[in-house]
């Protein structure tokens, strides 16, 4: 009289002198008597735990629905924010296969090496880099791998970005909205906005008041007299 569990064990792990029988059993030449035993034991097991078949089907359906909900739990939700101590929840690590749609790195001290991390986000649609103190022209030249998906970019208030860096945004052909307000290093904001609009025809460029560039009188620029070539 063998218990159901030792029967199943023998099926799975043939050891020692039982090897020949084990191979026969695994090879598919299963004698019908033991498989019936297996079915009977599983049925026994199920009937012990579930009330009836409909209940079982409901259980499986509920499992599947839970899985789908788990996958879509961020669909209409807001941003994942750090708590008041600046820490992100540890659960975040479980969501590594969920594609990231938007990143808000405003006021963040992200630099040239850090932007490499954004290259892996193949479905990034919106990127906000407002008031980042270390963002400069070199960093903007690192944004080209996001060209396929990026639709919205905001660079407002970054102190080091100039019109030379803005010129290398021409790779981002899917961009629909670009915010370049309040960039102190850009020498001529009105003219820059016009040239950037020419460069990216499908994009709406916001942030510059075009009347700002019009001054009443010409302003004298200090000449660097050491230069051999006039600048």
């Amino acid at each position: 009289l063998s218990s159901p569990f030792s029967q199943s064990l023998r099926l799975v792990a043939p050891i020692g002198n039982r090897s020949t029988r084990g191979i026969h059993q695994l090879g598919g030449a299963v004698d019908p008597e033991s498989s019936q035993k297996k079915r009977r034991t599983m049925l026994q097991y199920l009937s012990d735990h579930f009330y009836d078949v409909e209940f079982l089907r409901g259980y499986f359906l509920q499992n599947k629905m839970d899985k789908v909900h788990q996958k879509n739990r961020f669909r209409d939700k807001e941003w994942i924010r750090p708590d008041k101590y600046g820490h992100f929840s540890q659960e975040f690590w479980n969501f590594s296969e969920v594609p990231v749609e938007a990143v808000d790195a405003s006021d963040c001290a992200i630099n040239y090496e850090g932007l490499e991390n954004l290259h892996l986000l193949k479905e990034l649609q919106s990127l906000s880099l407002q008031r980042c103190p270390h963002m400069d022209d070199w960093c903007l030249s690192r944004l080209y791998p996001l060209a396929d998906s990026l639709q919205e970019l905001s660079l407002a208030g970054c102190p080091r970005i100039s019109e030379r860096g803005l010129a290398c945004l021409h790779h981002l052909q899917n961009l629909r909205r670009l915010d370049i307000s309040n960039l102190p290093s850009v020498s001529n904001p009105g003219l820059t906005q016009i040239l950037v609009e020419e460069m990216l025809p499908n994009c709406k460029v916001v942030g510059v008041n075009l009347a700002e560039g019009l001054k009443l009188g010409p302003e004298e620029q200090p000449q660097d007299t050491d230069r051999p070539i006039p600048a």
Binding site: Y112, D137, W138, L140, S141, R142, Y144, S162, E163, R164, G165, L166, A167, C168, H170, H171, S187, N188, L191, T192, L195, V196, E198, M199, D226, R227, P228, I229, P230
Partner: protein
């Protein structure tokens, strides 16, 4: 013991009187006395240059461990890395001798200022990548207390090299090498080119390679001034003067095959002041030749190249000055803000400058059309005949343009294989070269400076291996040809 005492008494000591002074008469030997006094003072205070009779503050010092001939971007970069990598602070005394401190003819100041990694040699690619990361972090490297940060005005738009049918295979190979070494370059077909840059006429173009990152152009004058400021703050002495003579000692040695070789060692450099005959002999341990277009003259002063041809003694330094023109024009309908530095199949190149539709560009002349490097006069007919037709053919908008300005500068052109010479000379043992980069010296200056400093301080190249750039290749005839030179 007794013989020793006796011998002590018989031998003349320092306190015995000279003959002729026994009866009280003296011989006035003023010069000898003065030089004796000077030697005594110098032995007590080594390293100071004490001239009790005349003012020598305008002259360079009497001694210097390293003398760098040439104060352009390569010379300053070597000085910077020597001071940065020296083991103990103040261990090396470095003197930079520059003939013209206004840099009116220096190639560093007059260049177009571009940096790119699209070379065919891996060493060149590494040098450019190193220099790009140096320039990116320039305010950490060249920070001086209480001085404003440097603004290089870097424009990261990249280089676009166009290749015709016959060069397309070579370009593909080069791009493979570049990608392997870590440069971010992408290849484009004529259709993709037209999509991206609609102002290009792609007739005759089979393939194009476009640098995506770490490529572009910057302000070379700013780099020069930044290096100068930092190097002065690190304790390097500057001197405006011209090197007129090297005094060296030589050593005859026998090789394995019993052939005689004469090894020279420069121990004194004569630096002549401007507009005068006054010169100062500077005692030195090492001399670095970073004189750019005039390196061959400096090498000839050291005796490099004096000997029968086809021997190591007779191999000259094959660097000559070549004149190149840069023109500035205005074209209102020209390419937009996103245009990179375009290098055409015909050797013409141009780039946009600023927001106002101004463009800079030029063309490298072929061997027959080489202009006379006697002076830096600009030949405007060269633009009309040789540059404009190619420009107009490649970019139809350039058919109407107006030239605003033009200037000329020298390339320190290496006639052997257009690549730099780095490292010591095999016979003049303490002369190091850092020259001959034929138009891409300034973009590789940080890397080359570091390589020379490592060679001096450690004895071998550590960061980037430039063994194939040594002088001995001129004698052995091993050319390392670089294809992508403009």
């Amino acid at each position: 013991m007794l013989p020793r005492v006796l011998s002590l008494g018989v031998r003349r000591g320092p306190l015995t009187r000279r003959p002729g002074t026994l009866r009280g008469g003296f011989s006035l030997d003023w010069e000898e006395k003065l030089s004796e006094i000077k030697k005594k003072i110098q032995s007590v205070l080594p390293g100071t240059s004490l001239h009790p009779l005349y003012d020598s503050s305008h002259l360079p010092p009497d001694h210097s461990d390293v003398v760098i001939v040439g104060g352009g971007v390569l010379g300053l970069s070597v000085a910077y890395w020597l001071k940065k990598l020296e083991k103990q602070r103040g261990a090396l005394r470095v003197l930079v001798v520059e003939r013209d401190l206004t840099y009116s003819q220096a190639s560093s100041a007059l260049s177009l200022g571009g940096i790119h990694q699209q070379f065919s040699l891996p060493e060149n690619i590494h040098l450019s990548l190193f220099s790009a990361s140096f320039l990116r972090n320039i305010n950490e490297h060249l920070a001086v207390v209480d001085a404003p940060p440097l603004d290089l005005q870097f424009n990261p738009l990249g280089y676009l090299w166009l290749a015709s049918e016959k060069d397309a295979a070579a370009m593909e190979n080069n791009v493979k090498v570049q990608r392997q070494e870590g440069a971010k370059v992408c290849l484009m077909s004529p259709d993709q080119l037209r999509n991206k840059f609609p102002w290009i006429n792609t007739e005759g173009v089979a393939l194009a390679s476009y640098g995506m990152e770490d490529e572009g152009w910057f302000d070379p004058w700013c780099l020069l001034q930044g290096l100068r400021r930092k190097v002065q703050s690190m304790g390097v002495l500057f001197c405006q003067g011209e090197v007129t003579r090297f005094v060296s000692s030589s050593d005859r040695m026998l090789t394995k095959n019993q052939k005689e070789v004469k090894l020279k060692r420069i121990y004194e450099v004569h630096v002549k002041m401007d507009n005068s005959v006054e010169y100062q002999p500077v005692e030195c341990a090492l001399v670095i030749n970073a004189a750019g277009a005039w390196s061959a003259q400096i090498a000839a002063l050291a005796g490099i190249g004096k000997g029968p041809p086809d021997t190591l003694q007779g191999t000259k330094l094959p660097v000559e000055p070549r004149k190149r023109y840069v023109y500035v024009w205005h074209c209102p309908q020209g390419p937009g803000l996103e245009s990179p530095l375009v290098a055409d199949t015909s050797g013409t190149y141009f780039r946009r400058e600023g927001l106002g539709s101004n463009y800079l560009g030029g063309r490298s002349p072929t061997e027959e059309e080489e202009p006379d490097p006697e002076n830096l006069e600009v030949d405007h007919d060269f633009f009309q005949d040789k540059v404009w037709p190619h420009l107009a053919q490649r970019v139809p908008a350039f058919e109407t343009l107006k030239v605003q300005n033009a200037w000329a500068g020298y390339y320190d052109y290496n006639t052997f294989d257009q690549n730099g010479v780095v490292g010591p000379h095999p016979l003049v043992v303490n002369m190091f070269f850092a020259t001959g980069f034929s138009g891409h010296g300034r973009q590789q200056a940080p890397g080359v400076g570091r390589a020379v400093a490592e060679m001096i301080l450690e004895g071998r190249f550590q960061t980037i291996n430039l063994d194939s750039f040594l002088f001995s290749r001129f004698y052995l005839g091993e050319k390392i040809q670089e294809d992508n030179i403009i």
